[in-house]
Amino acid sequence: MVETFYETLRRQGITRRSFVKFCSLTATSLGLGPAFAPKIAHALETKPRTPVIWLHGLECTCCSESFIRSAHPLAKDVVLSMLSLDYDDTLMAAAGHQAEAILDEITKKYKGNYILAVEGNPPLNEDGMYCIHGGRPFVEVLKETAKDCKAIISWGACASWGCVQAAKPNPTQAVPVHKVITDKPIIKVPGCPPIAEVMTGVVTYVLTFDRIPELDRQGRPKMFYGQRIHDKCYRRPHFDAGQFVEQWDDDSARKGYCLYKMGCKGPTTYNACSTVRWNGGVSFPIQSGHGCIGCSEEGFWDKGGFYERVTDIKQFGVESNADKVGGTVAAVAGVAVAAHAAVSALKRARSGSGAGKTEQGDR
């Protein structure tokens, strides 16, 4: 008899009251609204803990590190109460053949019912031996483990897109998971790393609704990757007003003006940084004075320097989604976001609050 998630929580001393509170917090953090809380509660009360196998390929472990930073829910509650993290090289007690025995056991015992989480990616050059797992190429272990899983979560930029080792010239021919596993549902949770609460938010969503979240054309959950950082950036009014940081640590930097001219990739990056923010909502890159480097976008390492202005994308509205812009990028080049900035400033000027005037008004 396998316990339900709710039973597990109760067993661990969580009161009914805190359980209900947790459900409503989860509903809120998923953007579902309080009406969904009872639904979440019902799901969690009736389900056993789902086994998770977490494999590591070529990576830097930043995804694992991010995951354990989750504030709501806490990583320990996810790992010990919500799911059963049966295999994870970074945290597990076992090693060597005792570790490998777990892979064998879980894939057989829970055939078709376990989730495979992948951090990092497989290199294909040298018969896969740029990443060796138990004496064998990682890509083989990945394929074997994926064979009977229910779904795959591709953590971070490595598993989703390839990330830094796949940047030109990609010497090991590192490829994202979907290039080698083509017959399973894959949820991409990109970012280098992804935000902790986005990671646990995706996991909780899957466990709660027993289905994968709605994905955009590129395979990312729409709920967290449906809008650009620029769309909801708290510095957006400065962009619209034409108030930009021109140099590091200049007067505008000290006032928290827009970082677009310093190379910020917020206008072309789909992620939740400007809303969920990082490490329990403390800050996010732009708030701490550095432009977004676009780390959740495919191939972000090869899209020009991090301090070069974004100019190769057609102007688009806030309402645009990732699918539309993805198509736009492919089709159009050379029309500058700079124009977008200019237009925004112009609109403000027309409505009687020009950039210069606003600046004065600031003082």
Partner: protein
Amino acid sequence: MGIYETQGFKLDNTGKRVVVDPICRIEGHLRVEVNLDGQNVIRNAVSTGTMWRGLEVILKGRDPRDAWAFTERICGVCTGTHALASVRAVEDALAIKIPENANSIRNIMQLNLQVHDHLVHFYHLHALDWVDVVSALKADPKQTSELAQSISIWPMSSPGYFRDLQNRLKKFVESGQLGPFMNGYWGNPAYKLPPEANLMAVAHYLEALGFQKEIVKIHTIFGGKNPHPNWLVGGVPCAINVHDTGAVGAINMERLNLVSSIVDRSLEFVEQVYIPDLLAIASFYKGWLYGGGLSSKSVLSYGDIPERANDYSAKNLLLPRGAIINGDLTRVHEVDLKDPEQIQEFVIHSWYKYPDEAKGLHPFDGVTEPNFALGKNVKGTKTNVKELDETAKYSWIKAPRWRGHAMEVGPLARYIIGYVQNNPEFKEPVDRVLKKLDVPLTALFSTLGRTAARGLECQWAAHKQKHFFDKLMGSLKAGDSATANVEKWEPANWPKEAKGAGFAEAPRGALGHWIRIKDARIDNYQCVVPTTWNGSPRDPKGQIGAFEASLMNTPVAKADEPLEILRTIHSFDPCLACSTHVMSPDGRKLAEVVVR
């Protein structure tokens, strides 16, 4: 080469071979093979880095100002430390001076990493080598409480607290879904703690998992996120504004108060939980003093944490710089990252190719051509290796040497060097711990010594965070709020060619980055990182690296449960993604397949 002597160790690979792959609870991919004699004592040890990503190849031709972001992705565990070494290398090459405030903020971030990384290592990567989780079920909560209250004033220590935790643990185990604790070596005779100490440690494992996420918020404040905060050539990206309009868009009083409170809480956790736990656990293992390896013979540190900005000389660094060789604890040699005779890398036993593999190359002139070749005595096939042949090439890690010596790096190396230099900040805490545990100085040269030095360093770093926070506040009071120097931001102001070296003391040890810049682009980039030193394979003289040396002559209680091997390897806090990446300076095609 079946039986030979090197560095005072007698290697003998004729006994029973035991393979551990993967080594878990580390960063990246590592394999260890050992030979045991008839009494189950390790007589030969082989450590193999089993991943390669080629990051420096990828850096060639890019903007040097972007290099920090690439190299930061070498490792997400010691996040930020590569970025720091990288911006320092570029600033060294281009003679860029950073403001004092930037130095203070960088130091706070680097120290913050030390505090976080050491704490997570001790509880989440290393503790299960000393702590038997299942044994905790047999503990008496009342006695556990007495134990906890006898060693610390930490308030979460009542009998009820431990009873509640034990009940949850019991039910967790009874559920049959053991998660990360499945197939551990529970009940192995090498575990020595009484049940009460085990229960206390399990409680703190969970508390530390909850607390660690608070520590890193300092990175988030100054760098926008963690892991992988943002850095800047010429200073730090966060501007400071404590007085004026718009302060809410910069580092302001509220942000500084948040930093200050995290600094205080971190110090409290380290001093009331980590250090007392470390001493309590050590007191039960002080008879198990294996694993010293190279620590009593050859240790190296580049030093770090400059008190004043832009002075990277040894006397201005709060973490010591120097090298000790041949076990001569009376002399600390000077270390120079740019001296071609000092640091050299060899590849005779690594999966790379040199024109002359009897010779080593300085990082400024490093050559890297992958060459995955297995020796003739390998058991298995190219893609299913059962046993490696250490007389041939056997690792993706190169073999760095300092003046020809294999070196150990890391907290223990830093503490030994500080101790020998009679620096009271390092000597006094070591003496206190030795006295408390009633063990001689030689006990320091062990697995336990390595683990203890890391804890002491965590405490040291927590205090120094406060020092640099106070220094930052002093500077703001004096009216200086500069955080970046942009004089040489534009490549038009750079020389046509330049080269530089940057260094840092990562949590795991000495880290160096070497850069050559040509026409405003990276012409060559090379990193020699802590686990390259510690996890090094053999060199042309057959000298073994620090991991290998540390395993020698250790008895193993049960040959099929590699607990002692894990314990000692984990004491180095290995980071494999760091150790295995290199540069091909001429951009030759990187694909060579040789199976002999």
